[in-house]
């Protein structure tokens, strides 16, 4: 995307387009990535409830894969995950490894 020059900006940094925050892909901030292990998941949806970035996609009442475009890697989902029989359904892995 070509960045705008100073003559093309809306006065006072007013954002004139609704819902434009969706274009800001905050996933690039992430240094740790949550990985979902479906075999340990009991579908409690705690992760969906706690995620501050709506990065856990739910379809027909069940969670699926992460939306990594917006996941900042905060790790709250992994912390809250109760898992199954002592095994977490979400684990954090370092990016780039």
């Amino acid at each position: 995307m070509k960045l705008k020059g100073w003559k093309d900006l809306p006065p006072g940094a007013v954002v004139t387009e609704a819902g434009s925050a969706a274009e800001f892909k905050t996933g690039s901030w992430r240094s740790f990535r949550p990985v979902w292990l479906a075999e340990n998941c009991i579908q409690c949806l705690f992760c969906w409830m706690y995620c501050p970035d709506m990065s856990i996609k739910v379809k027909d009442g069940k969670r699926g894969e992460y939306d990594y475009d917006y996941c900042k890697g905060c790790g709250i989902c992994a912390l809250e995950c109760p898992g199954k029989k002592g095994k977490k359904a979400i684990v954090m892995e370092e990016e780039g490894k």
């Binding site: 705008k4 100073w6 900006l9 006072g12 007013v14």
Partner: protein
């Protein structure tokens, strides 16, 4: 035609605000500006204006409420002084950066410590870099006229910036002077109806204010803000020209007083300029070519025009009613910059006077003009910056 009245500076400013009838006013009292808002709230209570009055718990909140109301789409005012302006400091930049045409009379008062309630320019000089347009007023008439013109300047579609109208605490705010009021109708017609370009309350066209702008765009916004300021001088002159048609009173970017052939000149802001002009006349009667320049528009500062107006002067003293401790006075720095731009190099000295409401007396102007005269006659500049009217 209007009518001639005997009123204080604060009363005159409050009356100008009544005539404009803004949409929203958020204010918190502080001496010596309290009187403006006290009178204005009476207008609200008595149904003389339709303004939504918001009484807040601090000046920080007052300016924050003004920012919100301005974003919503209203024509917005407040007034303050000294510590109040200092407390608003953070939000001043948000108002200008968001291009909100808020109008704020500031009754100039010294800053603590030590605590002092009287007039000097430390408060508005401290807000010099906040991105607000600043107009200075010598007397109650200037303050009244500047307040009315401020709306047209601020709301001009090429500008859309907040404006401070500065007048000296007590000397002007609380002294009764003879001034000329205009009738309500011509004032209302002059300021016209205000239309915000991106009102938050227009739910058909949703907008967001105050986004996070990172290094990839921040500098472009600041460059654009600088550009707007460069256009303000012309708008100030255009508005002054329209104002002259309805009032008969002429305003410029500054006042040139007997400068055309002046050998020595004073540069001085606000009420003290009146006193100094009398002394300039006395020197002229003695055959000494003295003159005076009184800036009206301080931000943006009209460097080229000021340097040109002072071109015949061989020695100039810039009088500051505020100090930048460890530096020159703020007005001096502007005048020195102006001379650098056009290559004109008169002897230039700086005097700090009148802090905390210390009286500026004719003999102070006389001493300074004599010093300038000595410099022109071949004497040397003894000190570049000195306090005057201060006890050893």
């Amino acid at each position: 035609m209007g009518k001639v009245v005997a009123v204080t500076g604060n009363e005159a400013v409050a009356n100008a605000l009544r005539q404009v009838n803004p949409d929203v006013c958020a204010a918190y009292p502080i001496t010596p500006a309290t009187d403006i808002m006290q009178r204005f709230t009476s207008f609200v209570s008595n149904g003389m204006v339709d303004t939504e009055m918001i009484l807040v718990e601090s000046e920080h909140s007052a300016m924050s409420a003004c920012v919100g109301a301005s974003a919503a789409g209203g024509r917005v005012i407040t007034a303050t002084s000294s510590q109040g302006l200092a407390l608003m400091w953070e939000i001043l930049f948000i108002a200008s950066g968001s291009r909100m045409p808020i109008i704020m009379p500031v009754v100039n008062r010294a800053l603590s410590a030590p605590l002092n309630i009287h007039g000097d320019h430390s408060d508005t000089m401290g807000a010099r870099d906040s991105g607000w347009i600043q107009l200075y007023s010598e007397n109650a008439q200037d303050a009244y006229d500047n307040t009315i013109q401020a709306f047209r300047i601020a709301e001009h579609l090429d500008i859309r910036l907040p404006v401070m109208v500065c007048l000296d605490g007590f000397i002007i705010s609380h002294s009764i002077e003879r001034i000329e009021y205009m009738e309500d109708e011509p004032v209302k017609k002059f300021v016209g109806e205000y239309k915000q370009v991106y009102p938050l309350l227009d739910v058909e066209h949703p907008v967001s204010y105050g986004p996070l702008i990172l290094p990839d765009l921040y500098m472009e916004y600041k460059r654009a803000q600088h550009e707007v300021m460069t256009k303000a001088s012309k708008v100030v002159l255009d508005v002054a020209s329209d104002f002259e048609k309805i009032s008969g009173r002429r305003y410029g970017l500054f006042e040139s007083y007997r400068l055309d052939d002046a050998d020595i000149a004073l540069v001085i802001l606000n009420s003290a300029a009146g006193t100094a002009k009398d002394v300039v006349d006395e020197f002229r009667e003695k055959g000494i070519k003295a003159g005076l320049l009184k800036p009206r528009l301080f931000r943006p500062f009209p460097y080229g025009e000021v340097a040109d107006a002072l071109k015949s002067a061989k020695a100039v003293c810039v009088m500051d009613r505020a100090d930048s401790f460890g530096g020159f006075g703020p007005l001096y720095m502007e005048i020195a910059s102006a001379f650098m731009m056009n290559g004109n190099k008169p002897a230039l000295i700086n005097k700090i006077y009148g802090l905390g409401g210390r009286d500026f007396l004719p003999e102070h102007a006389e001493t300074v003009l004599n010093e300038l005269n000595d410099i022109v006659k071949g004497g040397k500049v003894k000190t570049h910056k000195e306090y005057i009217g201060v006890r050893e």
